[in-house]
């Protein structure tokens, strides 16, 4: 027993000896290392223009949303022929977006609503994004993280139709982000006009689509797009304008289908987000009018 203990002690000693030697070798091998100095990477603070300062204050600090307006090939589709916006056009457009979209959601949903459920980046592209088929892509929401807005250079802040078209992209894409955060009842929604969804949605006009129970032609592309288009049309129009659109549809069944979809939308906003969409509609319409008046 003693003998075993002895052997064990000597083994432990030997191990300690090995560890000590290795430690010395390791320490010695590192002794020639240069001490750390300043980084070779450019870590200086970027020069901020008045526009950059505006973005930091009104978007980054206020809503935790970064705005990308300078070209960066890593965030755009390089198979498309797109280009960055004219620098002078960026701030006026962002002011409109802030007023009509951000301020409205904040007023109805609370100060932190957009801050918590928002795209982390808004990417601005100058011109139109034409597909080779001749159709136009108005916007993109990628994984709920980034909304790409095309046609920044074409925004005319005094023209209601023009602003509405631009804002409709945000309303539509932001709805996707809300849906990606908390899904809506796709199955129930899809049962309202199940047989009229088609990949060839662009072959029918908006008026024709409405007679089939869809708020727009693009609504017909899928249930998810239909839902986003419903939200979009409810928010880019005042309540009167929106009702006038529905009342203008001659097919009774189509009118009822759209009202059923509207009920699901209102229920989703109420139950999942605690937002009264009709109040949001009213505030958005008021803010839109203020932008045009100014």
């Amino acid at each position: 027993m003693n003998n075993i203990n002895n052997k064990y002690k000597r083994l432990v000693n030997a191990c300690a000896y090995i560890v000590a030697v290795i430690a010395i070798v390791i320490l010695a091998s590192c002794s020639q290392e240069d001490s750390f100095e300043g980084s070779n990477l450019d870590t200086s603070a970027p020069k901020l223009t008045a526009l950059d300062t505006y973005i930091r204050t009104n978007y980054v600090s206020a809503y935790n949303i970064d705005v990308l307006y300078k070209w960066n090939e890593n965030v755009v589709d390089n198979n498309r022929f797109l280009f960055p916006p004219i620098e002078e056009n960026v701030q006026p457009v962002l002011e409109v977006v802030e007023k009509i979209w951000l301020d409205s959601y904040t007023e109805v949903g609370g100060a932190d609503f957009v801050k918590l459920v928002a795209p982390r980046q808004l990417l601005l592209v100058g011109g139109r994004n034409f597909n080779r088929s001749g159709t136009i892509l108005l916007g993109l929401a990628e994984g709920g993280k980034r909304i790409t807005l095309f046609e920044t250079d074409l925004v005319d802040v005094s023209d209601r139709a023009n602003i509405t078209r631009f804002l409709s992209t945000i309303q539509h894409e932001y709805c996707h982000i809300l849906n990606q955060t908390i899904p809506f009842d796709e199955e129930g929604y899809g049962r309202i006009t199940p047989s009229e969804y088609t990949a060839q949605w662009f072959n029918t006009s908006i008026a024709e689509a409405r007679e089939l129970g869809f708020i727009s032609d693009y609504s017909r592309s899928s249930v998810v797009e239909d839902f986003a288009e419903m939200v979009n049309f409810m928010l880019i129009n005042s309540n009167e304008e929106y009702n006038a659109i529905i009342d203008g549809i001659s097919n009774v069944e189509a009118r009822e289908s759209i009202r059923s979809k509207e009920a699901i939308v209102a229920d989703y906003f109420d139950k999942q987000w605690d937002i009264d969409i009709y109040e949001l509609q009213e505030v958005t319409a008021r803010n839109t009018q203020e932008v045009i008046n100014n």
């Binding site: 070798v25 300078k70 070209w71 090939e73």
Partner: protein, 446 residues
């Protein structure tokens, strides 16, 4: 126990030697004196410095896609590390405008024009030269990978980010913007269809002369020339003296890379030396005439100019458009406009029964007035001559006389069955005035 000691010693020696070897000098250490980040920074700085080194700025002739489009000339002036001013010959706005640029790391160091300016006009999906490039604009790029400076010429050498086309920045002259403005005036001498719709290329090499039909796609800056035996296609870029050809055109072993405008002769000439040359000139008549005038007058043939679809056709000449506009001006007080000009030949087999029908559309109720000019015809020297034979309503004749006078001019019309279509599959025939070859009307065959 002895065994144990032996094992431990061996382990210690092996481990020690491994550490020692690990720490030995690495042969690779001496390849670069600086870290990758330092080298990248240095290269960025080198490009920034180079870009700002020219007091007069830079000129670049950018061929976005040499097989299908010509070149566009740019003037760049890099004012500081982030501001550039530029203009180009893309359109007729020669204002020198400021925007942002950056030097960043892509697949290598690249120059990126980061906010909108003239260079981006080539990359606008909404503005293609024609329907063949919908969604792709002029296939342009505005990010250029830096490949260093040409030591001999001082040029900055870039390749485009997407398609690796070489683009060279050459030091600009002090009046580069004026050169760009002048080059557009020279371009008009080549593209001005008010002179004549007929142009050809006469190539003389080793005493042999060949004549080619010439066709310029103005928007694409791309030329096709052809005769019965050969055809060539090439892009061009305008300059203050004429235009350059890229890639150089090779005909019978002779390379043609530059045409110069000769004001006296009103020709673009490439002088290749030793009596070899190529000339582009406007003509009074087609260089390869057709006998399509005999085809159109066959019984019950009909050809129609439809204003909605053919006014903008590239084959409708600007002089034709001007006359159509003047006809419409005269009609507008009556809320009428010219909607069609239709030819009906040898109606019911009767060679003397032919009509030029002018259709006047009412803006009030959409009704159409059909004004018939009866004509007889003769075919002389490859031309169709239409001879007045009375009007259905002579009181309306003065309203359309601007066009009618040309169609019934005694020198006749050159007719050509074209090899292209416009919007619809109907065969296209053009009617060109022999008296004024700047007048060409486009029609569908019915």
């Amino acid at each position: 126990m002895k065994n144990n000691k032996y094992i431990i010693n061996t382990i210690v020696i092996v481990l020690l030697s491994m550490f020692l070897v690990n720490c030995a000098d690495d042969d690779n250490e001496g390849v670069f004196d600086e870290s990758p980040a330092e080298r990248t920074n240095a290269q960025k700085q080198e490009l920034r410095t180079a870009l700002q080194s020219s007091d007069t700025g830079w000129k670049a002739v950018y061929f976005t896609s040499p097989g299908e489009l010509g070149g566009f000339t740019f003037f760049f002036n890099f004012l500081d590390d982030e501001t550039v001013e530029m203009t180009s010959d893309f359109d007729d706005d020669f204002t020198v405008t400021k925007s942002k640029y950056d030097v960043v790391l892509g697949s290598t160091i690249k120059l990126s024009f980061t906010t909108k300016n003239d260079i981006h006009k080539l990359s606008d999906s909404a503005n293609p030269p024609d329907s063949g490039l919908i969604g792709r604009g002029y296939l342009g790029d505005f990010e250029f990978l830096y490949y260093g400076q040409d030591e001999a010429t001082g040029d900055l050498i870039f390749r485009t980010n997407r398609t690796q086309e070489e683009v060279r920045f050459t030091k600009a002259t002090t009046n580069e913007v004026q050169n760009i403005i002048d080059s557009k005036a020279i371009a008009l001498e080549l593209t001005d269809s008010e002179k004549s719709v007929y142009q050809n290329v006469i190539v003389t090499i080793d005493g042999t002369t060949e004549v080619f039909d010439f066709s310029l796609n103005v928007n694409r800056r791309f030329i096709d020339i052809s005769n019965d035996s050969d055809s060539y296609s090439f892009g061009i870029a305008y300059n203050e003296k004429g235009f350059t050809v890229s890639p150089p055109l090779e005909i019978k072993g002779q390379e043609i890379s530059e045409f110069t405008y000769n004001v006296e002769a009103d020709k673009f000439i490439a002088d290749l030396g030793s009596g070899n040359m190529a000339e582009i000139a406007f003509l009074d008549a087609p260089s390869n005439p057709t006998d399509d005038n005999l085809v159109v007058v066959q019984p019950d043939n009909a050809y129609g100019y439809i204003d909605d679809f053919l006014f903008d056709a590239t084959s409708s000449s600007s002089n034709f458009r001007a006359l159509r506009n003047s006809v419409n001006e005269g009609l507008s007080p009556f809320d009428l406009s010219l909607s069609r000009v239709q030819f009906f030949f040898t109606i019911g087999g009767d060679e003397t029964f032919n009509v030029i029908q002018y259709q006047l559309l009412s803006a009030v109720d959409g009704s159409i007035i059909r004004l018939n000019h009866f004509v007889t015809f003769e075919n002389v020297d490859g031309k169709l001559i239409l001879i007045d034979d009375g009007w259905s309503d002579p009181s309306l004749a003065p309203f359309v006389e601007a066009i009618d006078n040309v169609l019934t001019n005694s020198e006749g019309l050159y007719i050509k069955q074209e090899n292209f279509t416009v919007r619809f599959p109907n065969t296209v025939f053009t009617f060109t005035s022999a008296a004024d070859p700047s007048f060409r009307m486009t029609t569908y065959a019915f």
